[in-house]
Subunit: 153 residues, 2 copies
Amino acid sequence: MTRRRGEIPLLLAMTYRAMTEALHDRIAAEGREPLRPAHGYTFRLLLDHADVTSVDLADHLGVTKQAASKIVAELEGWGYVERRPHPTDGRARVLALTDKGHAYVRHADEMWAEIEDRWAAVIGAQRLDDIHHDLRAYVDEVAGGRAVLRPVW
Amino acid sequence: MTRRRGEIPLLLAMTYRAMTEALHDRIAAEGREPLRPAHGYTFRLLLDHADVTSVDLADHLGVTKQAASKIVAELEGWGYVERRPHPTDGRARVLALTDKGHAYVRHADEMWAEIEDRWAAVIGAQRLDDIHHDLRAYVDEVAGGRAVLRPVW
DNA sequence: GCTGGTAGTCAATCAGGTTGACCATCTTAG
DNA sequence: CTAAGATGGTCAACCTGATTGACTACCAGC
């Protein structure tokens, strides 16, 4: 045991920050709208689940529905997302990616691939797969799957 | 390659949040002052380096010196840290842990050990050591050691 | 012994969240 | 069928923790 106690969360934070900043820099260099991590996690949720509402998004991000609603309003204003009437619930709106949204997601995946590959080049692809597995294990098994996205500072 | 692109940062964020929240819950349960991650990273910096100033802290945390100064003021008010005159520089103050600060760090290390051990129980101690090593590798070699702590949301 | 740079503080402002109140709609018990 | 409670969404007020900008006091180098 050479690890120092409490150093793991610190390294998680630094790595998270460095990776998201790498993407952010590229987005900024392209002159794109100021997309933040929360926007990216929104896209991912919409890709994986059908009939997502603002409340669903709020749960996923770990913020209030008002905050989630604001994020959706931004994305809608920029043309990445649109709000459609919910098929069965008259109160609710269903969120969906527009063509621009889908195109961005494909582009972002390529940029993430490059960022992750730079890491894999140092530690090896197998180790990166291990990390993926082990992080998932903490979230699901130790934190009980109740884990939420928004970082606390 | 079964990994989905961009999922690694998402898992980093969720794990970071879940781990820090686990510690935060215990601190709150003890009725202690509302210490946040930034305070913990401050303690760690003071343990590792002598003659740390508020500006040094600001660099380390990735915030402005004004924000760092506010964090120091809180810690000083709670009795965890004190500001002493700098040995050679009349403008600067040197930050140092008080006895209470040192006692808390020891206590926090025990709590971190329990949290990390719960993870190690699922994935194995060797894998946790690997993760430590690999995160450090990203920060140092991919991000060029310029990595900063404060997460962006 | 000027001149430019640095540590720290004060004050104003901003961003991104929260809380609370409210309406419209859905759901369920009786 | 209906009354009562729960839920999705919006509006507005506020809070926290950051930033920017201006300023003072001190340091360092020519």
